[in-house]
Symmetry: C2
Subunit: 116 residues, 2 copies
Amino acid sequence: MTNYSAALDRVFHALADPTRRAIVQRLCRGPASVGELAKPLSMALPTILQHLQVLESSRLIRSEKIGRVRTCHLEPIAFSTIEHWIGRQRMVWEQRLDRLEAYVKSLPDKGGKHGK
Amino acid sequence: MTNYSAALDRVFHALADPTRRAIVQRLCRGPASVGELAKPLSMALPTILQHLQVLESSRLIRSEKIGRVRTCHLEPIAFSTIEHWIGRQRMVWEQRLDRLEAYVKSLPDKGGKHGK
């Protein structure tokens, strides 16, 4: 559970930055070298590398170096971590709404009006 | 688009903390006063209030004060903001996989093996 919570911390934190989201968006279209990722971002390379490090530690991306080129790949399984968490919250919240609705329908007067 | 990006920043940032997620999880079960929210969290009240402020500024929750009691409510529409963003990325990524699969199937040798 602690690991799960720490993973959620990392993924939510990684996606809370527009540059990191732009990198993720680019990698959804396919792998890219660090140079290709840096091109559209008007930022110093060390800053880009820091962002890539945050994304790698959140496991949203992985990278491999072949020769002198480091290529980054998306790891979409990390999306599932936060989708799963949101899905669970949504389920609890919707169950509460269902119970409220059932309660309102069960009221003799208001139930009748609600049914029309 | 800038507003959308800023909203994503705020919601992802708000959810990148286990205490704030615990508050959201509690509010999925229904509204709660600040006192009720603070009870299970072993934290000083000013810290809790700071977390609530982050959640309110992300619009994941809203609060209202009646008399001396401030009650917090979930605003689940904020979940939709990040679900929408993730959904878009997933679509791009899945389209890429579909194209790759179609390409592999179109190869005379490997396509035959893949089909078995």
